[in-house]
Symmetry: C2
């Protein structure tokens, strides 16, 4: 799932991921009512990259702590992430998630609303288990992430019907919807490991910027991915008329008939599948794929530069490997 | 809204309530995106009794603190309560709340889901503002309340399609859905005011038991209320086929044709409006209104008895007045 299997950090990632999967399962097992926790377990059993909990664990390690201090908190951020997925899937009327039916499709919308709420409640419960000493700061960071994720999702939904979304609006939206969460993960980990102020700031910076890069890469993959590896069809964002980094950049650069073609996407709230190739060519012509790659580079550079505060070379390398795995992933 | 206007504690209640209303409004004002916080403000602008935040404030006072220590926490529990209302209204497909259109009816379901999530996120944010010293305990209590409310709501929804709900199931459900929240309010207040272990336990006990009494009184009001004061039509629970304390008690006691009449309510998932009188008479005949009144008395007695730990007579009286206002209310 994460690239660089031959890298020495991959086994660390895999060890963490497996334990998180186990702990995730335990976190919702043996709870009642079953009508609530069975569908809640269903969503977390879907295969996930577990990027966010790994950011927590790696951050604990980066400031001199170890993974065992933070597994509950790591599971908590994954539950929070899954809470957003379950509710977002209702809002997007999505049929599938990680190749399986979404919670509201397999069960129903009421169950999915409650499952989301419940995942969030258990997330807080678990976070508390790892909180010692500086629990207020950890709770603050976690809650700030939650507040921003809700605001980001609201902006994203607004964009669907707004005709005048700017690149700046988009950047604010993904900072809240995606980057706030990865920033929070690094912060929580750094707090749990009792990092210094400088380390906390540096890791928060890494988290935020790698989140930005991750999201723009996500937009880029939708157009440029190798369909055989991507797991879903290429061009989905275009079909849905989503105002992605690529689309908004294209709109910024286009003139004349090409601009009209792009405005039609907004007007008609998407395109037909057989038009994907045409629009991909527009993107290439306007150089927006290149622009996206530059933006990804910019943010990932910022992320990696902030790591200079970390004393241990291995920790810096671990984060750099993780950052690269995320922004060079093919699905 | 709350009875006993001539009582000396009423002005204390009113002062607290007005300040909570003001702080509630402030808590969501000046936040962006407006598309999220405007509908969030709409729900809290509906007239509410603000029972839960008042429980927080009274509990702070009861252990020797003062209201000003806890307004943020008080607002936090009201936001949490409103989060449950917004999501429950979607699940119940309810048109009205406090005499006004529900959020999902006035806006749409997507907005209402996100508004609920957001109210909860801001609740945690506000709670943090009042947390000092024992923040972990306060967060634990708040989170436990949240977890149980979700579980209680899930049980309540299950009951709609279950044919074999027992009184015990019902008691567990309202303990989670209603009483866990009032228990949490008292606990949070007692912690914020730095109460002793005995005071915290006593107030938690009060909160839980008064919540039980409150909910059974709610069920009773649905059948026995004076419609001119009730604000909604009497018999709504019967029409919806809800498995209330009254209904389950009746089912327990009934035999023969009356039992069959009650089983039909389950089978047909409710009754017609013109059958309300018939079923009310069944309730009276079986003595379940009396039984409900006895249960309310039992729980409110337990609540009031636990107050003996409080040193100050005025504080005990304040809680007794509040308890009585809640269980003798007519709407």
């Amino acid at each position: 799932m994460i690239g660089g299997k031959n890298n020495k950090y991959y086994s660390l990632y895999e060890r963490g991921r497996k334990k998180i999967d186990k702990k995730l399962k335990q976190s919702l097992g043996n709870r009642e009512p079953i009508s609530l926790y069975e569908p809640a377990s269903y969503i977390i059993e879907g295969e996930g990259k577990r990027i966010r909990p790994l950011l927590v664990l790696f951050s604990v390690k980066a400031v001199g702590g170890n993974f065992n201090q933070a597994y509950n908190a790591a599971v908590a951020v994954e539950l929070l992430h899954n809470f957003t997925l379950v509710h977002d899937d209702i809002m997007d009327n999505a049929d599938k998630r990680r190749g399986r039916p979404t919670v509201h499709k397999l069960y129903n919308t009421n169950t999915a609303i409650l499952v989301g709420d419940s995942l969030l409640s258990v997330a807080y419960e678990l976070l508390l288990k790892d909180c010692n000493g500086n629990s207020k700061k950890i709770f603050s960071a976690f809650t700030k992430g939650l507040v921003e994720v809700c605001e980001g999702q609201s902006m994203d939904k607004d964009f669907e019907t707004k005709n005048d979304v700017s690149i700046n609006n988009y950047i604010t939206m993904i900072r809240k919807k995606t980057a706030a969460l990865s920033e929070m993960c690094c912060k929580v980990g750094a707090y749990l490991g009792n990092g210094s102020e400088a380390e906390i700031k540096a890791l928060a910076n890494f988290g935020r910027n790698i989140g930005m890069a991750f999201q723009i890469h996500d937009d880029l993959l939708d157009v440029s991915a190798d369909e055989t590896k991507f797991g879903k069809f290429v061009g989905g964002d275009l079909v849905e008329g989503k105002k992605t980094f690529l689309f908004l950049s294209a709109l910024n650069k286009a003139e004349g008939s090409i601009k009209n073609d792009l405005l039609k996407v907004i007007e008609r709230r998407g395109i037909k599948k057989n038009q994907i190739k045409k629009y991909k060519n527009i993107y290439i012509k306007l150089g927006v794929l290149k622009e996206a790659r530059l933006a990804i580079k910019k943010y990932s550079k910022r992320a990696i530069n902030s790591l200079c505060v970390l004393k241990d070379k291995n920790n810096r390398e671990l984060f750099i490997w993780f950052a690269n795995s995320l922004i060079y992933r093919n699905k």
